[in-house]
């Protein structure tokens, strides 16, 4: 078995299995934790505070007017590289074929040259995000190994993908194998690190919003 066959065969199988197992584990372990009962009488009817939860998902996804000067740039940066990542992952034809082979669904892609431009821009944004994290005193104090490793492994996927597309550094099959292996590594790391925010971010905002709405507060 060569490296490429392992990366897109057994390696991918193991990565998907670990990913699914880890995500189920983390979500259930979180969801089944006992929530302390709130003995206060709700200020709002149940439907209203559930709606408050949904509203918070939207309102927390946008910079607050009062803080836009301080947080706007960071949020713009965050949105930009997330959108860049989504475009590269979902609109590059070889990726669509890959996802199609897994899920049986395909969709139209973008020309490779456009994807390359988006990838380079996303890569630049990734470096900017790291620079910001390292140079901002508060963010640096808040960061731990998990933050840096999650950044590194996502960056690795992007860099190896670009190298494979541009045929830089090694033979194409080796670059492709390394790229797919980096995806395998990302899938394995995903449930156990901060990349899990992809699953937690919206439920946690919704829960916070609902709890606040129950008390009659808006968020």
């Amino acid at each position: 078995m060569d490296l490429l066959s392992f990366a897109r065969g057994l390696g991918l199988k193991i990565a998907i299995a670990v990913f699914c197992m880890g995500v189920a584990w983390r979500i259930l372990a979180f969801a089944l934790l006992k929530i302390r009962r709130d003995f206060n009488r709700p200020r709002e009817p149940i439907l209203k505070y559930l709606l408050g939860g949904l509203i918070t998902v939207g309102s927390r996804s946008w910079p607050h007017r009062e803080f836009i000067g301080r947080t706007g740039a960071g949020e713009a940066l965050g949105y930009s590289y997330h959108l860049g990542l989504f475009a590269v992952v979902l609109l590059f034809t070889p990726h669509i074929i890959f996802l199609g082979s897994l899920f049986g669904v395909t969709w139209p892609g973008l020309p490779s040259s456009i994807i390359t431009i988006i990838s380079v821009l996303t890569l630049t944004l990734f470096l900017a995000v790291l620079f910001r994290r390292v140079t901002n005193h508060v963010m640096r104090m808040l960061s731990n190994f998990d933050d840096y490793f999650s950044w590194f492994i996502t960056m690795l996927v992007l860099v190896t993908g670009l190298a494979a597309t541009a045929h830089v550094g090694a033979r194409y099959e080796t670059l492709l194998a390394v790229h797919i292996l980096s995806v395998d590594a990302l899938l394995i790391w995903f449930p156990f690190g901060k990349l899990m925010h992809a699953f937690y971010i919206f439920p946690s905002r919704a829960i916070n919003g609902a709890l606040l709405a129950r008390k009659g507060a808006t968020s």
Binding site: L4, I16, L32, Y172
Partner: protein, 371 residues
């Protein structure tokens, strides 16, 4: 350079066959160009070759389909490939020779004895070792015995085709004859692999010509293939490459994309991982190559090409099974199984968390229970 059986110089042979100096220089220039050598190497090669003795060549065929030999001998008379047969002394070839039986065996023994240590040994086909080598025998000798004996006196071994180079189709899983490439049997001789199923005729003759001319092995890649022919991928030199870059792909062999000559990546073309000269040297006297005829590259010049999943699955697809790519059902089954295991761990983990929570909130109850 080593002498063939009749000791004639190449120049003498050419004169005898009425080949003009101009035609010969044109041939050498074309060969030099195909090998990516400097333009001035053509005339220099012609001069060197003219004065060179005709080298003895022994061609042995083992577990193969004769496709490589067909490719080797394929000529468009009067073509340059015919010329090649005039500049070497093909002293033994069991497919071409008229002799049979003991006479053929004697011819082989004589050729090896007369040019011991000097002849070029060309091997076509893999070497089966199962059942004591009984799957491929000639004159009572197994292929593996014949190879070991012939390799002893060879100056160089040129493996023609993917079977002799990497085992090829006989080597593919489950390899019922326990077939091996030449490199697995012979370890003490210089070996050049000219892979392909079959290899391009000009690549075979060009490799041979370069060795005959320079007396040295060409620059080889990690699979011992001449870099001059195997230095680039098909994809890098493919005329359909601009369509790949534009994201224009044929979705089936008869759709509009296929008719417009768009990239065949989605139809399983292995061009990006295949190193060969098909897109530049081409086939049938430079007429065309498989991709130009509308079929994707199957990667036949790469080791283990037969075991690398379906020929019609795109390179970036998940290779779920040996016989092909994954199916959504298999992915679903694997994911469901993993989610179930993760779910059990998650429930256990949450239970443990609740217990910890209870103990921290009710320390007195816990003490009473334990007491």
């Amino acid at each position: 350079m080593q002498h063939g059986s009749d000791n004639a110089l190449v120049g003498d042979m050419l004169r005898r066959h009425g080949v003009s100096r101009r035609a010969f220089i044109k041939f050498c220039t074309a060969a030099a160009s195909a090998m990516a050598l400097q333009p001035w190497m053509g005339p220099a090669m012609a001069e060197q070759l003219r004065l060179a003795p005709r080298p003895s060549v022994v061609y042995l065929s083992f577990q193969e389909c004769t496709g490589c030999f067909e490719s080797f001998t394929r000529s468009f008379a009067p073509t340059i490939e015919n010329l090649i047969f005039n500049v070497i002394s093909l002293d033994y070839d069991d497919t071409l020779m008229a002799a049979a039986g003991d006479a053929a065996d004697t011819a082989l023994t004589q050729a090896m004895k007369a040019n011991f240590g000097k002849y070029v040994l060309i091997i076509d086909g893999s070497v089966p070792t199962g059942a004591g080598g009984a799957y491929c025998t000639a004159g009572g000798k197994s292929a593996v015995e014949t190879l070991r004996e012939a390799a002893k006196g060879a100056a160089v071994i040129i493996c023609v085709g993917t079977c002799s180079s990497f085992g090829g189709i006989p080597f593919a899983d489950p390899n019922p004859t326990d077939a091996w490439p030449v490199t697995a049997i012979v370890g003490d001789k210089p070996i050049i692999n000219v892979s392909g199923c079959p290899p391009i005729p000009e690549v075979i003759t060009g490799t041979l010509l370069q060795y005959v001319t320079t007396g040295r092995l060409p620059d080889l890649d990690e699979h011992r293939r001449p870099k001059a022919f195997f230095g680039n991928t098909i994809h890098d030199r493919c005329y359909r490459r601009p369509f790949y870059d534009e994201g224009k792909f044929a979705k089936s062999f008869d759709d509009e994309g296929a008719r417009n000559g768009w990239c065949l990546y989605e139809l399983g073309c292995k061009g990006p991982t295949t190193y060969n000269a098909c897109a530049t040297v081409k086939w049938n006297g430079g007429t065309s190559f498989p991709i130009e005829s509308g079929h994707g590259c199957i990667g036949c010049s790469e080791p283990g090409f037969w075991d690398k999943g379906s020929l019609y699955s795109a390179l970036s697809t998940a290779e779920w099974e040996k016989s092909g790519n994954s199916s959504p059902r298999q992915v679903l089954e694997l994911s469901a199984g993993a989610v179930a295991v993760g779910g059990v761990i998650g429930v256990a983990s949450a239970g443990a968390g609740r217990l910890r929570q209870y103990r921290s909130e009710h320390p007195l109850d816990v003490e009473q229970e334990e007491g």
